[in-house]
Symmetry: C2
Subunit: 307 residues, 2 copies
């Protein structure tokens, strides 16, 4: 067999590198990470567009207050041209029980009607907001089905959007599966974590996990402990999803419920701001953390092992 | 005539207040201010959406680099499902001369094709970007016609979008017309101005006016002077637009051209960073500004009248 020239070798190795790169991106996990990032970005975007729409249409109908932003946008697109002329039926279809109040407000409004040109712009903005929301709904549906396929265990334990965000922050399912639970707990809290390490501020108790209704909706004192409980089980579920492919989430779910009810029986002492080990047998008192009134000492790095 | 009761008086005065409020918002100037704000917001929004789209589609076609963001979005929407199958004619219609290079890149791409589900999401994002751009184009057209109608003098001197932004920042045409030219020059530079007053940083030389091609495109040393020249004439044009309604912009334009050519004959001394009065007869040397290495002294307010 003749010896490979340098150029041939280069081409062969380049081919191998390309193939392995293609391989890394062959699964659906990168698309899931992109989808959740896009979803969150669109949520921001839609809010920005809505802000402008409400500010602008506020010139013409300052009395209109609707709690649902999309309903507001649909109102502008449908009835913005002449708010007083809106038919009661159509209004009721869009606004439900609020229709009467709105039509009374429209009759007494101090705002003029927009000109045809102005309304054209307003309608375009309103329709844009609606189509952003439609795109979001589509991404949401995609996330729902694809995360449940890729991560049956994790999505059994927690909301699929939070699962997708954890995946996105970890980089890939393989990486998420090799993370210790403490890292999973603080995914998304990197900034607060490094501020803690560098300046001795309070350590974060949760990152992305705060978006879980079970964590964010819990009392201030127990949130950290509940995030901790979820993180331990998510880390185990990730290993099942990435490696063994077994379904063990029902057992994990039971364990979570048990741990949470256990920590509710041993609540933190009201005068202690920290977290306690779940089911621990009492509290050691800790020395007060040093720092200025904001709990933070600029320019003076904290020793990493100081308690 | 019987005397008004307190309640009747209250109602009458409320009616008057409402009427005067309606009156303030009766003109087109508030819509113009809203339109330019929305336009700028949509520009930001479109960039955010594009970023996500390029990041996501980058998984499937990392080699694709198109300088025009909208062309990129259109490419994804049309050919994203199967980049290799794109017909040469269709590609050429969208990409022009770049079509050949792109189709060669597509044939050798290391990215896989997106699944049907993934492509659905990508196409939705791409179409969203296109419709944001369409809304922008609509707002642009509206701004063009409405500013030229409201401010014939100012828009004769400067770009209509910059004129709209000045109007928006001033609040109304009446307010813009009563502003001294120095205020017009610094509209949009409020933050830098107050930083200058409070901390003694360098004073700003232009705000929104920097967006004028004639100012932003000029050399670093003459920008401030050119902004100054434009501001003086815009202030006069605003008075004509708001009060006398005469068309004097052609004369102002001549004066601007003359002043600029004059300041080109008397350029600033190369070692002096400040601005000189246009056509002034030489330079006084000024004492060096005090401050730390960043040219700014925190927590030590500058005396307002110190030079």
């Amino acid at each position: 067999m003749r010896k490979e020239t340098a150029e041939e070798k280069r081409q062969r190795l380049l081919g191998l590198a390309k193939a392995s790169l293609s391989d890394v991106y062959s699964g659906s996990e990168h698309s899931i990470a992109q989808a959740i990032a896009s979803y969150n970005e669109l949520e921001k975007t839609r809010n920005l567009v809505h802000e402008k729409l409400e500010e602008w249409y506020g010139i013409f109908f300052p009395e209109l207050k609707l709690s649902n932003q999309l309903t507001y946008a649909r109102f502008v697109a449908e009835f913005g041209a002449d708010k007083k002329a809106a038919a009661a039926d159509d209004l009721a279809k869009l606004l439900g029980t609020a229709a009467d109040a709105v039509s009374r407000q429209a009759a007494q409004s101090i705002g003029r009607e927009p000109t045809a040109e102005e309304f054209e712009q307003l309608r375009a903005l309103a329709q844009l907001e609606v189509s952003i929301a439609d795109t979001q709904a589509m991404l949401d549906k995609y996330l729902d089905s694809s995360t449940k396929k890729l991560m049956p265990n994790i999505t059994y334990l927690i909301d699929y959007k939070v699962a997708a965000e954890l995946l996105g922050r970890a980089g890939s399912l393989g990486k998420l599966a090799t993370m210790p639970s403490g890292t999973v707990q603080l995914l998304g809290a990197e900034k607060a974590l490094f501020k803690h390490i560098k300046f001795g501020t309070k350590p974060p108790k949760y990152g992305t996990l705060f978006k879980l209704q079970q964590v964010g909706g819990a009392g201030r004192r127990e949130r950290g402990r509940i995030a901790r409980i979820y993180a331990t089980k998510i880390a185990i579920a990730a290993r099942a999803d990435a490696i063994t492919k077994n379904f063990i989430a029902d057992k994990l779910k039971e364990q979570i419920d048990k741990a949470i009810s256990m920590q509710r029986e041993h609540p933190p002492r009201p005068d202690c701001p920290g977290t306690a080990p779940v089911g621990g047998n009492g509290w050691k008192s800790r020395p007060q953390r040093q720092g200025n009134q904001h709990g933070f000492r600029p320019n003076r790095p904290r020793r990493y092992n100081r308690r």
